[in-house]
């Protein structure tokens, strides 16, 4: 992303991916500008991204948004991202594999033949692990859970790193709102292809209640375009989908939620119990 002064927005003419510029057909519009609400620590400056619009194919530079550097341009800690992605994959896992031991296999209480005299090797039961049809000595035992939790700050940092990596690799697009002119899934796919977004797009709106109907209808017909509320954002989905599309409200929500952890006290009791000054 190029560093632009907000004042120089009108004169800036460098295209994003060598596409021909085109002015919005409705004539000169006021650009959508967003500044960071939360304080930015002194040596760092906000990182900037174009605000786009989904209303027209070519509305790719409707405004400029400033994103908080601690969330969108933090250190690219791939090891934390890996830890968080593996945690997401495994902590829900419950493996139901189970085998019967020699005590659980039906039968096998009696000694098959006397210890001495028959000429055969000595055995105590027909269900021991060396017998065919016998129990399994060291097999999987019962439903096993692989649950564990990473520290809260590690999970928060994983989200920040994922957002940073998406922005740094030009896979993050900021949109003023997810309103579409039609509810045709074809429109979304054509838009994504024109703007070279990629095969899979993750659209993030703020909450389920205020999602526009057109987007819901368009996305329900597509497999690789998925719509989630801001509460559902996670590193695994960001890595699974090639592009991430956030609205301005979502960005404000995420910044507020993720930056709170940088300067909070350690919990004396779980956060779900009421505190005097939080939320």
């Amino acid at each position: 992303m190029l560093q632009l002064g907000l004042n120089a927005l009108a004169e800036e003419a460098v295209p994003q991916a060598a596409k021909p510029e085109s002015v919005a057909s409705a004539g000169p519009q006021v650009p959508v500008l967003r500044r960071c609400e939360l304080p930015v620590p002194a040596p760092r400056r906000p990182v900037q991204a174009w605000v786009e619009s989904l209303r027209g194919y070519e509305q790719e530079r409707v405004g400029l948004a400033e994103l908080h550097p601690e969330v969108f341009s933090t250190a690219p800690r791939l090891d934390i991202l890996h830890q968080v992605a593996i945690w997401q994959k495994n902590f829900k896992r419950i493996s139901y594999a189970k085998t019967k031991t020699r005590a659980e296999v039906q039968g096998g209480g009696r000694k098959p033949w006397p210890q001495k005299g028959s000429g055969r090797s000595r055995h105590g039961s027909i269900r021991s692990p060396i017998w065919r049809g016998g129990g399994i000595a060291h097999g999987p035992r019962g439903p096993t859970s692989y649950y564990y939790m990473l520290p809260m700050k590690v999970r928060v940092r994983g989200l920040k790193v994922a957002l940073t990596v998406k922005l740094a690799q030009d896979d993050l697009h900021v949109v003023d709102s997810l309103e579409l002119p039609t509810s045709d899934p074809q429109y979304l796919t054509e838009l994504a292809r024109y703007r070279r977004w990629g095969d899979s797009v993750l659209l993030v709106d703020l909450a389920h209640e205020n999602m526009p109907q057109n987007v819901i209808a368009a996305v329900s017909g597509l497999k690789t375009f998925n719509l989630i509320p801001a509460v559902g954002l996670n590193a695994y989905s960001m890595l699974k989908h090639q592009t991430l599309v956030l609205t301005l409200q979502t960005i404000a929500f995420l910044e507020e939620k993720l930056l709170w952890h940088d300067s909070r006290y350690t919990p004396l009791y779980p956060f779900r119990l009421p505190y005097r000054d939080f939320p």
Binding site: K89, I94, R141, P143, R155, Y236
Partner: protein
């Protein structure tokens, strides 16, 4: 099984031949287990509902005001939701939580398993 016959035949061939003289032309025992036709490739839809939406709401705590915890999203047996333990701990927890409504045979096996694991962990092996 049919395979064991061929294994026996292969071993008979190789047993008599010194290591330096073994060559491909004498036949490979493994050849008998190679299939000549491939099975139809398994078609895996990487973008079905479950795979596309995997991991959504895992951060419901940190992004959702801590009203819910991700361990409440886990679907599974009641004694394993949001908890991890070794086999003895799992058996004890299962007995505590659902032992009163298990089948008699299963409960008996569970008790036997708990006894065995207790003795194993506390009396046998290097770490007790």
């Amino acid at each position: 099984m049919a395979g064991s016959l061929f294994l026996g035949a292969g071993r008979v061939l190789w047993g008599r031949v010194p290591l330096a003289c073994r060559s491909f032309s004498l036949g490979i025992p493994r050849m008998f287990h190679v299939r000549l036709t491939l099975p139809p490739p398994k078609v895996v839809d990487r973008w079905n509902e479950k795979r596309a939406m995997f991991g959504v709401y895992d951060n419901i705590g940190i992004l959702g005001d801590f009203k819910m915890h991700p361990k409440e999203l886990i679907k599974g047996p009641k004694w394993l939701r949001g908890w991890k333990g070794n086999e003895l701990q799992r058996c004890i927890r299962k007995k505590k939580m659902v032992g009163n409504r298990m089948f008699l045979d299963d409960l008996h096996n569970l008790n036997k398993r708990i006894n065995y694991l207790y003795k194993h962990f506390n009396r046998h092996g290097k770490y007790r």
